[in-house]
């Protein structure tokens, strides 16, 4: 194979074909066939992605415009792909993790009727297609096509069980909140177009370096792009859709709402680092929002009892960490954490799916307990996920999280404050993850007898992906071993053509201290969780602060009261008063007046010649006077 890069277009096209086959043939395909087609196309894309990765590693890259999308004199926009170090890495994550989740789904969704089964796989394929478009796009518009495409697939999959209103409500919420972000993204794109008439990455970034944008332009554009990122990547203020998105099938939560789609915002900012680095203000905003989201979501996760909700808030929190890394200019760390997080969060979501599967649909951890005895593979792999996310040395999460924390520590001025808050959040992370683990897998079973009777380990199609992801969660971090630990950070080197390494270098001794500190505290948090929850027997109603956390700081309620309800009231008012009474009332009034007027005027035509003559004379006089004075 001379140059695999000539075939990169196959990477997104294959899942698209899978989507079409499963979508159009859903009435005729057997479950086995839909599953094989659905997973097969993604596997094929994965294989090509690996080859592409190898090629890119040895210095290859691709910028290709396949055809003109929109080409007018004030905007040249091609259907362009760009494959370089950054996108090739994301290709691996999307197709690799995506493939595992497809395989897992064949077992998890097996009780669905064949028609819906095919529909499910067609949506998954469409999602992979959109996500690939997002990362392979060579300009902001192609990225946006994927960007809204993943939003659509997320909507379709959250509302997959569409008979329940709760699910479709969650789907609508996800779409609308994403759209709010998308408007920000779009406005940024319009801004770029208005300034330079192109949205091609290379053109935009070189224009930025040549100072063709004013400082206001840069800050405005980057802030608007970040608004887009807060929607897709579930950050304050647009994060509330993600926990609700758990209404979808669990593998979907793993694929879309943990491993891939939600990292789109991170990818976009990393991709546009040449722009973002130019605006200190935007970077500060990103840091603050990321940190605040990480802390807020972690605090909520402590008090959730739905296994998927805990993981969802954990995802929001981890994404906050990634934004913190971006905001501190630590792009490599952010991408590194995307990678490791994809492994361990997909692992834990699939693990939770395995648990839910065994529990017959039960998601409340208060009704679980002692599951380790019944499902050892799930339990052990889940434990590995928990250790990895907590940042236990040697596992993947340790390296990436440590890099983020160290980067934050090195920020001039307020770096230590950021570090302290981030470290505290990391402790919360360890605590809520192990709370979840202990309540679910240790102690006594608290569900019904029937459920207990049913408990079983999941089939191989589900456990094998778990094992693979567990292995990756352990070893995935070794591509980014920092210099301080004698590594050479292969990932940073790989990404160096696109992403600068962390701006703030710390003394090795400082790094050792930070690592030791976080490790000790995390272990302490885990032990605390163990003491508190190893023999969990349920707990009383939450009160005070705990209740506030359990109710997610009432953010949803606040949004309803501040945005949703007033908007509905305003719309109702416009409809009933302004439209019907005001404008239409006026029009009808005119109509009535004309009617009335003509009825009066009709009286003039009464057949009496005298009246006609009189009117005629008056008319002539009027004309006469007009002539006289004109």
């Amino acid at each position: 194979m001379s140059n695999i890069l000539e075939f990169v277009w196959l990477i997104p096209v294959l899942p698209l074909i899978g989507f079409l086959i499963n979508g159009l043939g859903r009435n005729n395909l057997s479950k086995g066939l839909s599953g094989i087609i659905g997973s097969g196309v993604v596997l094929a894309s994965f294989i090509i992605s690996v080859l592409v990765f190898v090629q890119v590693k040895s210095g290859g890259s691709l910028d290709n415009s396949y055809f003109d999308f929109i080409n007018i004199s004030s905007l040249q926009l091609g259907f362009e792909f760009k494959v370089d170090v950054l996108s090739s890495l994301f290709l691996l994550i999307i197709t690799g993790v995506g493939f595992l989740i497809h395989v897992y789904s064949t077992a998890y969704m097996h009780d669905e009727p064949a028609k819906d089964f095919a529909k499910y796989f067609s949506y998954l394929n469409l999602f992979v297609f959109s996500m690939l478009l997002l990362v392979m796009g060579g300009n902001f518009v192609i990225m946006f096509i994927g960007w809204e495409g993943v939003g659509l697939c997320s909507y379709l999959l959250i509302g997959y069980w569409y008979k329940k209103e709760e699910n479709t409500d969650a789907a609508n919420k996800a779409f609308v909140m994403n759209r709010i972000g998308d408007l920000g993204f779009l406005l940024a794109v319009f801004w770029i177009i208005a300034k330079i008439g192109s949205v091609n990455y290379d053109v935009v970034f070189s224009a930025a370096s040549l100072a063709k944008f004013s400082a206001t332009d840069i800050t405005g554009i980057t802030l608007l792009l970040f608004v887009g990122a807060t929607g897709k990547s579930a950050q304050i203020p647009l994060y509330t859709w993600l926990p609700d998105a758990m209404a979808g099938p669990t593998p979907v939560s793993a694929l879309i709402h943990a491993a891939t789609m939600v990292t789109a915002g991170i990818y976009m900012i990393a991709r546009s680092n040449a722009l973002f680095s130019l605006s200190e203000f935007t970077m500060t905003v990103i840091t603050i929002i990321g940190l605040a989201t990480a802390l807020l979501a972690a605090s909520i996760a402590i008090r959730q009892n739905d296994i998927k909700k805990v993981l969802a808030y954990s995802t929001v929190s981890q994404l906050g960490f990634m934004f913190l890394a971006l905001g501190t200019g630590n792009y490599v760390a952010a991408v590194f954490h995307v990678l490791t997080h994809a492994f361990f969060k997909a692992l834990m979501f699939l693990g939770s799916g395995s648990v839910i599967h065994a529990m017959g649909g039960e998601q409340d951890i208060r009704n679980m307990g002692g599951l380790h005895k019944h499902m050892k593979i799930t339990s052990v792999t889940f434990l590995i996920g928990c250790l990895a996310i907590s940042g236990i040395p040697g596992l993947s999460g340790f390296f990436s999280k440590d890099e983020i924390l160290a980067g934050a520590f090195g920020v001039h001025g307020y770096g230590k404050v950021i570090y302290a808050i981030a470290l505290f959040t990391a402790l919360l992370t360890a605590f809520y993850m192990f709370r979840l683990y202990f309540i679910t897998f240790t102690g006594k079973f608290r569900g019904t007898h029937e459920q207990e009777h049913h408990l079983h380990e999941s089939p191989a199609a589900m456990t094998i992906p778990l094992v693979i992801l567990a292995v990756l969660s352990i070893v995935g971090g070794y591509i980014g071993v920092p210099e301080a630990l004698g590594g050479n950070h292969a990932l940073a080197q790989y990404l160096s053509p696109v992403l600068k390494s962390a701006a703030h270098h710390l003394e090795h001794s400082t790094e050792y201290i930070l690592m030791a500190l976080s490790t000790i505290l995390v272990v302490a948090a885990i032990l605390f969780a163990w003491m508190k929850f190893k023999n969990y027997q349920g707990e009383g109603e939450a009160t005070g602060f705990g209740r506030l956390l359990q109710n997610k700081w009432y953010v949803d309620e606040i949004y309803t009261a501040v945005v949703t309800k007033p908007l509905a009231a305003l719309s109702g008012l416009l409809d009933r008063v302004v439209e019907k009474k005001g404008i239409d009332g006026f029009v009808n009034g005119v109509g009535r007046a004309v009617n009335y007027g003509s009825r009066q005027l009709r009286l003039v035509q009464n057949g009496q010649v005298g009246v006609y003559v009189l009117l005629m004379v008056i008319g002539m006089l009027v004309l006469f006077f007009i002539q006289l004075f004109a």
Binding site: E165, V176, L567, E579
Partner: protein
Amino acid sequence: MGSYITFPELLIWLPLLAGISCFFMKKGEAAKTMAILASCIVLAVSVGSFFYTDAAQYASYNTVNYYWLKHIGSSFFLGLDETGRLLTFLTALSFPIIFISTQKNNYKNPGAFYGLMLLTMAGLMGVFVAIDALVFYFFWELALIPVYFLCSRWGGEQRIQTTFKFFVYTFAGSLLMLVGIMYVYMHTPQRMFGDGSVSDHSFALQSFMGALLQPGEQQWLFWLFFIAFAIKMPVFPFHTWQPGTYDQAPTAVTMVLSGVMVKMGLFGVIRWLIPILPAATSMFANLVIILCIIGIIYASCIAMVQDNLKKLVAYSSIAHIGLMCASLFALNELSVQGAVIQLFSHGINIIGMWIVIDLLERQTGVKHISQLGGVAQKAPVLTIFLVIIALANIALPLTNAFVGEFLMFSGLFKANAWYAVAAGLSIILAAVYTLRMIQKVFYGETNAVTACVKDISFAEKASLGVIVVFIFLLGVMPQHIIEFTKEAVTALIALKK
């Protein structure tokens, strides 16, 4: 003049003759067949006209100029330019789709119904090809008058009231335009005809563009024309005839109104208003854009609280049209190119919406969102079509509307960033009301009303299929339609003063 019969003539005479012959048909089926057949032939002619676009080479195919009312300076002057070709194609494509998808609806006195529909078609064609103001006005009325009869005779329960309002509104608009036309006419230069005869003034578009108008005159003339066109589109606050009419008119007529006829107003702006009054256009552009943007948000908000499906689509259409109108007045390459694409896209998308609604109403007798539910279980194919069309309606990427809206918003942004910010809110609001509609009507459990719903038949599948093909064709590869309309766009923005 030419030795051939030209495309514009064919496009007008075919539906006109077919329409007249429909009136004499006793059998409903015959009239229906006639209508479908005639509209398909017109479609073929329209498609054929795309092979003869080269203005210089095929002038004798595309323009025709009969001496008509020479002594007053009017001639029967028709011509097919890019925008006209696009809109005649939209008309030619819409009518067969409309006839085929609504063929299961039974009308009393079908001969007259189909006859009037075809007359409307002829009128619309005339509007899009007229290059003489008097001819334009003539066809403008020809397109409208049959619609009054269609609404008042075949409409819903409140048809008299709504038709009356529709009539008053559009009639007022037409009168304003007539006054405007006459005033401009009085200020046109002499016209010399080919045979040597001379008239004092002229109705030709070229002469109108060269009319000697003082700035002050331009300013009030602008409002005469603008209000006439704004009523037709309709733009806030001239829109209140529209939701009621869409609701009460027979669905086939609503499709014509919303898919094609509203384009008359926008086309009027492109063909007549901006070219005749460029200075006043630049003067009032911002005012018009602000009016449109108020309308966009206003209509989107009202759409969110509609329970009546038809009114929901009506208000959503007001928002979409408002965006197109604002973009035309922003008058830069991006915005106008977007608006021109959207003229076509909006037309077919909204007809697709009506097909689905008509189907539901015919089967359930219900058009209120709160009474429907769970249709997806009963009619999965219909639901897929609806979802695709609805997503196009909210301008999802890779659908046709995305291209248009994307360009329009970028153009508005270029004109003034705040325009795009304010109008952009409709992107969010549109998602809210469209998804709510999908959720309440198609998702959820079925109820007594929707239990009887059957999936779509072949004819409907074919109609919707054509629409979906266009949605993706223009959505994935819009450059073709851009190439086709580029010159018209450049010519229009060159008029900017």
